[in-house]
Symmetry: C2
Subunit: 231 residues, 2 copies
């Protein structure tokens, strides 16, 4: 029972952002074997010295690859088996993080020769990923979609201030379907999470939209019911 075991423990954050009206995740190109030159999640081994706990290990990985800060980091699931890494038994804890649209860009440091935002389509990303990372991404996307359909987490992705249309777009992009304007508005009204600011217009000669900020970027409101989708 007291065998000094050799199970590798890592964290794999799936970092989401939205730009160009598409959902994206952050990938890094591996520069060591196994799966050298293959795209992978920006994860890595938990460091006994550096990391107090799993959550901060995930935050550290996040910081190493991007300059942006997260308003949301949630554990998704943990996969562990003898076969998922050719080097032997390994366990990885999958997280998903939401970051606002990146302006200054990525730091291709820390063992990653390349870093990039990859579009998430209907069936995950278009490139093959190392290890079982496609499965991890799938799980994270499912969780994100579920969460967005019954909470206000998606609002955290927006740069402030934002219009209601921005909010609606974020939901539609992540859920990959139309969302009823009025329905979403009602939900955010009852969440009491938005504060109005001033005004602006988006395109030429139309009525300007109100601008909002979040009262508290840390708070996530749960809708009384999940968004049901089209009838």
């Amino acid at each position: 029972m007291n065998n000094a075991h050799q199970i590798q423990t890592s964290v794999d954050p799936v970092i989401f952002t939205v730009f160009d009206m598409k959902l994206h995740i952050l990938l890094v190109k591996r520069n060591i074997e196994p799966y050298k030159d293959c795209w992978a999640l920006p994860g890595g081994l938990v460091d006994e010295k550096l990391d107090q706990d799993l959550h901060s290990a995930a935050l550290r990985k996040l910081k190493e690859k991007t300059n942006v800060t997260t308003h949301y980091l949630e554990q998704v699931e943990t996969l562990g088996s003898a076969s998922r890494d050719p080097r032997g038994w390994s366990v990885t804890v999958v997280y998903f993080a939401l970051v606002t649209v990146p302006e200054e860009n990525l730091s291709a440091a820390h063992g990653a020769s390349e870093v990039r935002w990859e579009e998430v389509g209907k069936n995950g990303v278009a490139v093959p990923l190392a290890f079982d990372h496609e499965k991890l991404v799938k799980a994270a996307v499912e969780r994100l979609r579920a969460k967005v359909s019954y909470t206000t987490v998606a609002a955290g992705l927006l740069a402030e201030p934002f219009t209601f249309l921005d909010l609606q777009n974020i939901h539609e992009i992540i859920l990959n379907r139309k969302v009823e304007k009025k329905s979403l508005m009602r939900r955010y009204e009852s969440s009491e999470l938005l504060t109005e600011v001033n005004e602006t217009r988006k395109e030429g000669r139309m009525r300007p939209a109100k601008l909002y900020r979040l009262k508290d970027r840390e708070t996530v409101h749960y809708f009384v019911r999940t968004m049901e989708g089209p009838r």
Copy 2:
């Protein structure tokens, strides 16, 4: 990065059952340090040789402590930190399992000097637990309650055949509140998960209740809406 690290990896199943109209979980008394003679979850280290993956590691732990089989095993969350075990960095993957009411009883083998079913009250169990196991139990109970309020998992706890009242009781015991008969009936009807069998009566001189079986013990039906509780 390639430091041979020493993170201990374990699984901790929270095994639920219902008898005497109360929710219970299985605990074992530790017979080694640390926390010797303290009650704990029936978990243990993942064994690289024995276990193919985390799920089967949890099943193995379950089998070592009870003779019953599970119809439901679900991963809850993973906790890992430098401080949760005095011996150093450790990670544990928490599962929750549902088993039918135990008849032949527990095997107090495998490093546990004592095994027992402990009642789960409003605030978890009444005895202090080793490590952070109270937190793990709390997380598992929350997840169980959530799941029971929007799925048919609870039905898996019943020995077949069962009456509708049995089903209602199971829900009420786990959720720790009254559940509307008609509301629950509607949900199970639309789940199309029950098959009628014959008849029986429970107490003396009243109308006998129909007996049911589950069409498929593996299938879990998701209700269209969460049970909302009293108005």
